[in-house]
Symmetry: C2
Subunit: 225 residues, 2 copies
């Protein structure tokens, strides 16, 4: 059984439906968030992705208009306590987020503590159910064996997606990593590619490799082609 493949976009403008229009810089202001939401409406992006402090503002601006709000938990380091990540995720949903992108406990994986990695994800999944949780693996910090292991832990813990990158580490999404994760994950799990995605050609290559969502701060440039 394979996951049903979405139709690839034929034009840059059609890529908008795959893009989560992302603004996670620490200095983002309320005005920056308003601009992001206006762009999401104008270009038809699937969602906006924001730090928790901005979620209620974005949710109010976008209510009932198409793009939904994604927020983050344990971002971008993933080295917090599970109960804090779970509260952060639940509060983001309470403020209007529909999906939460959490960062895996990378240090726990590096310490050989797969059980801690799994419990951490489960805590967040449970805190926001039925809202979907994406688990950011930060692939540039992992070897291929660790990527596959992390993908399996996320799937078993109930994640809806695995996501390649925070955009804050030394590298972002690669076609090879997306293909590896797509091959490792079962059909219930989607792949979100993120980090360093700036062109329609990159988007197409990542979607062909098996990504279903694209996280990017360069959405307007991508869909203009």
């Amino acid at each position: 059984m394979t996951r049903p493949r979405l139709d690839l976009p034929s034009t840059p403008a059609q890529a908008a439906a795959f893009i989560e229009h992302t603004l996670l810089r620490p200095e983002a202001s309320a005005a920056d968030v308003e601009r992001l939401c206006q762009e999401a409406l104008r270009f038809g992006f699937r969602a906006v992705c924001l730090n928790p402090w901005h979620v209620s503002r974005a949710a109010a601006l976008l209510a009932g208009q198409g793009p939904f709000v994604v927020s983050v938990a344990g971002f971008p380091l993933g080295a917090g306590l599970s109960r804090v990540k779970a509260l952060e995720a639940a509060e983001a949903v309470r403020q209007g987020a529909f999906e939460v992108d959490m960062v895996m406990n990378i240090g726990a994986l590096k310490s050989g503590d797969a059980a801690a990695v799994a419990r951490d994800i489960e805590a967040v999944v449970r805190a926001v159910a039925p809202c979907p949780v994406k688990v950011i693996l930060e692939t540039c910090l992992l070897d291929d064996r660790e990527k596959v292991l992390a993908c399996g832990l996320a799937e078993q813990a109930g994640a809806a997606f695995v996501k390649t990158s925070t955009g804050f580490a030394r590298a972002g999404a690669s076609v090879a990593d997306v293909a590896l994760l797509r091959a490792a994950a079962g059909p219930k799990v989607g792949i979100k590619a993120s980090g360093g995605i700036r062109t329609f050609e990159q988007v197409l290559a990542l979607l062909r490799a098996g990504a279903e969502r694209i996280g990017a701060s360069a959405g307007p440039a991508i869909v203009r082609g």
Copy 2:
């Protein structure tokens, strides 16, 4: 009234008492934390500074031996909700941290919402009192007017220290910023310089400018001179 000045270190080895030996990389493992704590004991660093997931391990390793544990909240972006930052700080203390370095809500400052910045700091200060809170301003993202404003908000909200940088943004501590903050802050507030500090000469210059604490991951190299 000025804050009493500590004696400057005469030798690199004496700098250890000012240094918070820092490991905030997302991929830090349990073994990395053990090594950090052993170095803190061997060189006599003032403290170790770690992400929350590592605090209980470090606190157990260092108990009663000199160096204490510092942790972080809302790190490194500062754009979370205040109640989450407050819980994160309180949980870190519960796990054994003695001080908490929180990141200011930089986006709120950029949005002109000084009241939100202050409430956010107050929530953390209250959550961990009487443990000291340091407020990370991320000076490289602020102009001088914003640095002085942020310093005043931190002071009014009960912060024990203002801290220059997370080490995750495009620049770290500068002598000019430390001098500016030292001039802006009242005598109850200390200055922690952090980010990009790699030599004893840098440490001396920052202490001369008014810093009392140095956050660095290069502590062993610094104290070997």
